[in-house]
Symmetry: C2
Subunit: 252 residues, 2 copies
């Protein structure tokens, strides 16, 4: 079934790049994206926005940590006792945090070293197998740089000027589930200034957090963890291109 | 320019219904949506999800309050002193709140009577003119019922079975700007249970807050306040239909 509409300022399309393999340390994520999109008949256009789940960026960047290699500090043992979590995982969370703000059941509420508040400093854990043991994975070291690297590969391979947003899922205090928000960006201004009419028909100015709205939108196709379909291309979004954009500008 | 892709599980399209008039009390929002979409050549399909900005729902439901008609309580005067806001606006905020959690500068942090935390109980104000004075507008009385009414009109007029989500913008404590989240829904289950592989290739179960992701996605076209393009149709989203769905299930 074809959509039947033409793309314009009234329409936006989200496309999940299919058949990406499980990403491993050292993979060139930008090239894999170009290859799988091309195999699917997808042609990048100038102005496309790629939203990439942080988890696959971290995997490509080799940020899996074997918990057996981690030596917990005294503070990590205290956090483990308060939350019922593995002290080695707590140690990784501490190393990723600028500040621990408190605990709530098993959750450790942190200010991440990148500046935003999040649960467990964005650290996930999983057991691969009894043989390999338990691993933790952290957010990318510098998500703006990760986004820029993917943008550069797509410019080199596909000849197109795209924006890249690295997303992660964030919990909201009074709702179940999580929402996708940005943690890094390249090629797109961190805030979009828009002039429009308010509900009384008066012209008003608004600062739209477009990059966060795009990260949240991508979650519709990604799913919560973004692992099955970790790369979503969004087409038809008017945005301000910015070569020196930084995620830092989004934070209060 | 045509999108060139076929809709499927890898693609989602957002379409803003164009040329909606400024909504007035008593307007039949569902009928206006059908008329403007039809004039634009858009044909609703079963399974489409409509995201409707709460502001236009409130306007259609006549929820504009003239501040000159409001008599502030003692508590409203106290809040006005703490925040530098109009005591009559503070009175409206109090009436819309189950609980005032605190203040932060000019912001009044509330638990809304509908159960969620939000700034100023979702009450907006604006001056229409010196002649008409200042008005406040509240969230819909029962957003699930508002969503159901729009869904019923579209079923009656277009013969299609769609889901409807009423959205509002919510601030996040450590980021500039706001994100779109749901405040009411009809025809779509409040939580989407998905089975997928995690980043280690293991099958996992996740509860996706799809309705909030869709509300956030619509903001890409709506803009922050959702007033210029207050209705966005999202096509291609797999979701669980639920005739008795309620927003309440989303809240912790």
């Amino acid at each position: 079934m074809d959509s039947g509409w033409s793309l314009g300022r009234w329409q936006v399309t989200l496309y999940a790049v299919p058949n990406l393999p499980l990403i491993r340390a050292g993979d060139d994520l930008g090239s894999l994206i170009c290859e799988r999109a091309s195999e699917d008949g997808f042609v990048f256009a100038d102005g496309d926005v790629l939203v990439v789940a942080s988890k696959v960026v971290s995997k490509a960047e080799g940020l899996l940590l074997r918990l057996a290699d981690i030596t917990p500090s005294t503070r990590a043992y205290e956090l483990a006792q308060a939350t019922g979590r593995d002290p080695r995982l707590c140690e990784v969370i501490l190393q990723e945090s600028a500040e621990v703000l408190g605990t709530n059941g098993r959750m450790i509420i942190t200010r991440h070293r990148l500046g935003f508040h999040c649960t467990n400093a964005g650290v996930d854990r999983s057991n691969i197998s009894p043989e390999y043991g338990a691993f933790a994975i952290t957010l990318p070291r510098d998500p703006d740089a990760s986004a820029l690297a993917i943008r550069d590969v797509i410019r080199a391979r596909a000849g197109r000027d795209v924006a890249v947003i690295i997303s992660d899922s964030f919990g909201l205090p009074d709702r179940y589930g999580a929402i996708g928000l940005s943690v890094g960006l390249a090629g797109i201004r961190h805030v979009e200034e828009r002039d429009m009419d308010n509900l009384f028909g008066q012209p008003t100015h608004s600062d739209l957090m477009l990059v966060d709205a795009l990260a949240a939108a991508a979650m519709v196709l990604m799913g919560e963890t973004g692992e099955a379909r970790p790369v979503v291309v969004i087409r038809g979004v008017p945005y301000t291109r910015d070569e020196s954009a930084s995620f830092r500008g989004l934070l209060v």
